[in-house]
């Protein structure tokens, strides 16, 4: 009897503790929201221009909430597909891409898009390949690591740090790496007539960008089909239908045939149904698409948010009469870290990795390293103080938004990384950092956004990323089996 009472008391105690935990987490979530609200209101009251940064902040927060809600991670998606044959997340990502493409087409057709296509060439495939291996090693892609950081995952934070530091180092590396630069790249880069402050002859990435990437064609599916982006035919038929819906449908058919069909057929067999007709196959295809409602909802909101983000930024650019946030920062009295063109990184839409490189670049510059003589920082993106860097506001708010959602869903846990996981996080993060800079973006900027906006280079990056993820998963399987075999051999059994 005493024992039963003790169990009951213990049970009631743990229930109270759980309830207190939930209330505490909810308060933290509200606290995060209150902090962002105060930052927005306070800075706006101080100077109207800060609303431009607040736009990045609130859309970043929405991205974070969506990513956490939909467990939206490219690394998990391909690992699940290649390692255990579960296509759910890959399907979710493709749905989100199509939905964003639809919203993007509306924004583009009305001439309000802030999107710029990237050069199209084989470099995107190579970059995606390196990035794909890295994200599998790290256990999270660039955006996935950010939202997981918001969930309290220390390993994901290490990945973010590794991506950031690697990029900042990689874009400035010169010395012996100059010997690896093909002569044609060097000649082409020097012929570009860049400002004297940019030391284009010293730096592998500088010569890669100015001597090779900038010489590649820039196009969209609309332009390839003979239309302008800002027309209905170009935006909806060229970019959306030809550039996104059809390739995504084909990709999903491949996923269905190789991964999802088997379980659908098994289910039919169990129910004693006859051999499948074409309509049954279509039913299976549709069931695969609608299997993960949570990811689809997150994808829908992400798509709408991404489109609205472009729209609002464009409106503010018109209102303030600027083309780039660098002008606003200068008007507010911040001139440190503005590029030689008077610009800072201000994509006008969702991006992840460039701002991560910037805050490390800014830190290095403050510590005495010259970072403004390379193209990435000095000519294009600048290294403004992270406290007034629009894209940094977006990333911090993304982490905050994911934290809010994780706290409300009782999924927030501080997790310390083990030595082994930390090592993989650093290696994977470094590979993702290199892949990002070679591809001019990550799984978001170089794949998700570009594909959605009808840029063929997005698909090239995606192709490489899938290949890299496949190799990464195979390597991990081999590594794990080898490790288990060693442990088994060392045991007494």
């Amino acid at each position: 009897m005493v024992g039963t009472d003790a169990v009951l008391v213990g049970g009631a105690h743990s229930d109270t503790q759980t309830a207190n935990d939930v209330i505490k987490k909810r308060r933290w979530a509200y606290g995060v929201m209150a902090f962002f609200a105060l930052v927005s209101i306070g800075t706006y009251a101080y100077n109207e221009y800060y609303i431009y940064l607040s736009v990045y902040l609130w859309f970043g927060l929405i991205y974070g909430m969506c990513l956490q809600y939909g467990r939206f991670c490219f690394s998990s998606a391909f690992r699940d597909l290649f390692a255990v044959g579960v296509p759910r997340m890959v399907v979710g990502i493709m749905i989100a891409t199509v939905l964003f493409a639809f919203v993007g087409a509306i924004v583009t057709a009305t001439g309000l898009s802030t999107f710029h296509s990237a050069p199209v060439s084989f470099h995107a495939v190579v970059a995606g390949f390196i990035f794909g291996i890295g994200m599998v090693f790290a256990g999270g892609c660039a955006s996935g690591s950010l939202y997981k950081t918001g969930e309290g995952n220390g390993n994901a934070l290490l990945v973010v740090l590794s991506i950031s530091v690697t990029q900042a180092l990689f874009v400035d590396v010169g010395g012996w790496t100059n010997k690896l630069v093909p002569a044609s790249w060097r000649e082409s880069a020097l012929a570009k007539g860049l400002p004297e402050s940019i030391n284009v002859g010293d730096g592998w990435v500088d010569q890669y960008l100015a001597g090779y990437v900038w010489d590649q064609p820039v196009t969209t599916f609309a332009q390839m089909s003979g239309s302008s982006n800002e027309t209905f035919a170009g935006a909806f038929l060229g970019n959306l239908l030809l550039g996104v819906v059809l390739p995504a449908a084909v990709l999903l058919i491949v996923v269905y045939i190789f991964w999802a069909r088997r379980s659908h057929m098994r289910r039919r067999e169990k129910e004693g149904l006859p051999a499948p007709t074409f309509l049954d196959e279509l039913g299976g295809y549709w069931a695969m698409i609608t299997a993960n409602k949570r990811t689809a909802i997150a994808g829908l909101v992400l798509g709408i948010a991404c489109g609205l983000h472009m729209f609002v930024i464009q409106g503010l650019r018109v209102k303030f009469g600027v083309r780039n946030a660098g002008t606003l920062l200068e008007r507010m009295g911040f001139d440190f870290g503005i590029s030689v063109n008077g610009t800072v990184f201000d994509p006008g839409y969702w991006y992840v990795t460039t701002q991560e490189a910037q805050w490390v670049g800014w830190t290095f510059q403050k510590l005495g390293t010259e970072n403004m003589d390379n193209i990435f920082f000095g000519f294009v993106n600048g290294i403004p103080n992270p406290a007034i860097n629009p894209a940094d506001w977006m990333s911090l708010a993304l982490i905050g938004g994911a934290a809010v959602m994780a706290l409300l869903n009782n999924e927030f846990r501080f997790k310390k990384p083990t030595l082994e996981l930390a090592t993989w996080a650093l290696i994977g993060g470094a590979l993702m950092g290199i892949g990002s800079r070679l591809g001019l973006g990550c799984n978001v900027g170089a794949f998700f956004v570009r594909v959605s906006q009808g840029d063929p280079s997005g698909w090239l990056f995606g192709l490489g990323m899938i290949g890299g993820a496949y190799i990464g998963v195979r390597f991990f399987n081999w590594w794990t089996e080898r490790k288990m075999a060693k442990q088994f051999a060392a045991s007494d059994f």
């Binding site: 509200y30 609130w58 909430m65 609205l308 018109v318």
Partner: protein, 66 residues
């Protein structure tokens, strides 16, 4: 989804809604929204027909006086 989720969504919606409201009027003003296919992009000067005629007559007077 419980009340806390909706409260957070409401706050995010309020701020983004405010920003959307903030960014639409400039685009309407310059004809990027609602300007029609042949709308002129750029700030409108507010010069009506009467004023235009006045300026034209001024230039005519100037021509005659030369």
């Amino acid at each position: 989804m419980n009340n806390s989720h909706w409260a957070v969504i409401l706050i995010a919606g309020l701020f983004t809604g405010f920003m959307m409201g903030y960014s639409v009027p400039p685009m309407v003003e310059v004809g990027m929204i609602g300007g029609g296919a042949d709308a002129e992009i750029g700030l409108k000067g507010g010069v009506d027909d009467e004023l235009e005629e006045y300026y034209r007559s001024l230039s005519l007077e100037a021509d005659e006086s030369q």
